[in-house]
Symmetry: C2
Subunit: 426 residues, 2 copies
Amino acid sequence: MNNFVIGSVTMFKPDGTVETANIHVSGDKISAITRGEVTGATVIDGRGKFATPGLVNAHTHASMTLLRSYSDDKALMDWLQKDIWPIEDKMTRHDIYWGAALAAVEMIRGGTTAFADMYGPCMEEVAKVVDESGLRGSLSRGLIGFADGNGERIAGNVELYKNFHGAANGRITVMFGPHAIYTCPPDYLRKVAAEAAKLGAEVHMHMNETQTEIDDCLKAHGKRPFEVVAETGLFDNGTLAAHCVYLSDDEIEIIKRKKIRVAHNPGSNMKLASGIAPVTKLLANGVTVALGTDGASSNNNLDMLEEARLAALLAKVDTLNPLAVPAAQALQMATDFGAQALGLQNVGRLEVGCKADIVLWDMSGVEWQPNYNPVSLLIYAANSAAADTVIVDGKILMQARELKTLDAEKICAEFTACANRLTGKA
Amino acid sequence: MNNFVIGSVTMFKPDGTVETANIHVSGDKISAITRGEVTGATVIDGRGKFATPGLVNAHTHASMTLLRSYSDDKALMDWLQKDIWPIEDKMTRHDIYWGAALAAVEMIRGGTTAFADMYGPCMEEVAKVVDESGLRGSLSRGLIGFADGNGERIAGNVELYKNFHGAANGRITVMFGPHAIYTCPPDYLRKVAAEAAKLGAEVHMHMNETQTEIDDCLKAHGKRPFEVVAETGLFDNGTLAAHCVYLSDDEIEIIKRKKIRVAHNPGSNMKLASGIAPVTKLLANGVTVALGTDGASSNNNLDMLEEARLAALLAKVDTLNPLAVPAAQALQMATDFGAQALGLQNVGRLEVGCKADIVLWDMSGVEWQPNYNPVSLLIYAANSAAADTVIVDGKILMQARELKTLDAEKICAEFTACANRLTGKA
C-alpha cells in the first residue's frame, strides 16, 4: 500500500489560498495534512515545489493525437469533413489504443491526472490505457445518431458501462456520449436517455459550440439546443456539456436547473474561431465551469495548464475586466471544478479524505522568480514542463519527470507507425 | 571566428515553408544553405531539430521581472499606480542590472534572441546585460514628460544613444522612449522629436493601449493619439508603436504613411483587459505587426512562443475566422517582422547573408508527434522548453539547454536579493 509524506511543500488549498505543509498519503487517499518538519525514508522532499490537485481535462478526444498537425488553420467544416472524418473512418482498435497511450504520456507529463474522453469505436482500448497508465478516465462512446442505424453504438456504450464503470479502483467511470444536436436527432437522444436512465449513467455531449449549430437547430426544431435536448430527458441523470459558447438566458436557466456541468475549451474555441463562451456569467450563476483541451487536432496539445491560462486571459479581455477569472479561480476550474464535471467524489482538492491526486510543480525555473505568488506564477508564468511529480490514487505516475507506468519510447514508435499507416505522411 | 554547420535540420524558410537543409555559419552571418549530407568536427547535428530565426520580443521592460507576480488580477491603474510605480521609484542601478540579467536568462531559455526594451533609469546597465549575454537589444530610456522637469531624462536618452548605439558589433541599438500620450504632453514630444532628429534616432512609444487613453486624449486635444503625436514630428525618423489596441481608420492611415511598425502584445492586453488589437486589419493594410510580451509583471513571463500562439488564437476568435493569422504568419510576426520592428537589417530570416540568429527547437517531445507540420506544432503544440540551442550573431548562447554566456544560478541569487530588498516579501 502507498504510504508516504510530501514534506514542507507549498500547497494550494481548497479555498484558493496557499500554505506550507506536509501532505500524508495512505493508500489512495490524503490521510493527513500537518505542519512542522517531517523526516524518514518515506518523505518526498517538497521544498521548492508547489503542490496542487491534479489537473482535470474535462473534455477531450484522446486518440485524436494521431491527427495532431494534420490539418490546421482551416474552416471548421472543411477541417472536420474533408480532413478529419475520412481518417477517423480508417481507425482500428490498434490506432485507438496507441493514440490514447500517447495522450496518456502527454497528460501525465503536463500534470493532468484525470480526463473525460468521448471517442470511439473501441473505447475499451482507452479503458485499457487508463488502467495501465494509472490515470483517472471518464469514458464515453461518441454516438452519432445518423450513423447508428441499428443502435450498435448505443449498445456499445451500454456494454462499455457494464464492463468498465467503476473499474480500476474506481479510476474508470463511463458516461454516454451523444455527439451533438446536429448529429443526433431528438428521437435518437430519447433512446440514449432511456438507456442511460436504466443504468443511472451520466451523459457527456457537445453543446452550442458554434452559431451555425444554433441557427440550424432553430430552423429544424424552432427551439434552441438546450431546450430541444432537455425535452428528450437526456439531462436528467447528470450531464457534462462541452463548449457552451453561445447560450441564451433561458438555456443558462436549464443548465442551472439540471445542474449541468460545463467544460469550457478556450484553446479549441479560439483556434477553430468558434467564439468566446460566457464563462464569467456562468460562474456568477453558480454553474460548475471546468476546462478541457478538446482533441489535440484542434488545440494542438493536451496541456491543461495552458488551458487554465487561456481561460483566465480570455475572460478578462472578453469582459474588459482584469478582475475576471483570477489565477486561483482558473486553477480551481482546472482541478476541483474539473473533478465535479466528471462526476467524481472527493477528487480535485488537497484535503484530508480526498483521493491523493497531486501534482508537484518545480518552482526553480527563472520564470518562477521572484516568488511572490505561486498561484499567479503557475497560471500566468510557468509552462507545463514544470510538472515534476504526478500522483493519482496515491500512486506515483511520474517523479522528477520520469514516467513510472508508461514506456514513452515504445509508445512513440507504435504511435508513429499508426499515424503513418492512417495518413501516409507522418 | 565562429565557423560551423547545422547539418540536416528542418528549417523555416523566409517564405513560410519548411525544408531540410544545412545552415552554414561564418562569423556573425549565415554564409551558405546547402542540401545533402555534411560531416566534420564543426557540424552540429540538426536531425530532429526545427531551425527558426531567433524570436524577437518587440516590446518589453526587462527589469520588471523584479515585479513578476507581485500584483496580479487588478485594474490597470490600481496595478500601475498603487503597486508598480512605488516599487519602481525605489529601483537602483543594481536592481536594473539584475532584473535585466534574469530577463536575459529567461529570454535565451525561451528562444528569444532580440528585444526592444523601454525602461530606466540606468539603461546602460541593460546595455551591459545585452553585451554580456550575447543577445541583441534595442534600448530606450522611458521618458515621462511630467517627471522630466529639466529634461534630464531626454539628456539621458541622448547619452545612451551616443554611448551605445551600434555597440557590441551592432547588437545594441538605441531608440528614444517617450512613454505615452498620457504621460508626455505634445510640447515635450516636440523636444524628444527634435533630439531624435538630430541624431537620426528612432522612437519606441506606447500608443493607444486603452480606451481611457483615447478618451482622455480626445478630451485634452480634440484629436486621437496618433493625430496628436504625428503633429509633433515624433514619427518622422522611424517608430515602433507598442499595443495599438484601439485605432481609427485615420490612425491606420498615419501608421501606413509614417511606416510605423506595431508591437502587438496579446498576453498583456488580455491580462490587463485592455482589449484586442485589430491585427488582421493592420496586416491586410501591409503594416509590419511584430509581437511583444510587455513587462513580466503584466504577462507574467517573457515567453515569445506563447505570445505567437496567443496572437494566432486571439486573431481567429476575434474575427471568427479560423484562417486568420495562420501558424506560419504568427512565426513570421515573431521573427522577421520583429526584426523589422526593431529597425534591424538582415535579421529575422534564415537566408544567406543574414545575421546568424537561430533557434533549434527539439522536436522529440510527445506534443510534437506525429510531425506532419513543424510550423503548426511549434506555434500550437510546443512550449518554450523545447528551445534547445540559441545562436545570436553566430555565437552559441545556449546548447542542449545549457547556457554558455550567463551564470543562471548567480543571477537568480542576486536577483532574489534585489526583489527582497525592493518589496520586503519575496
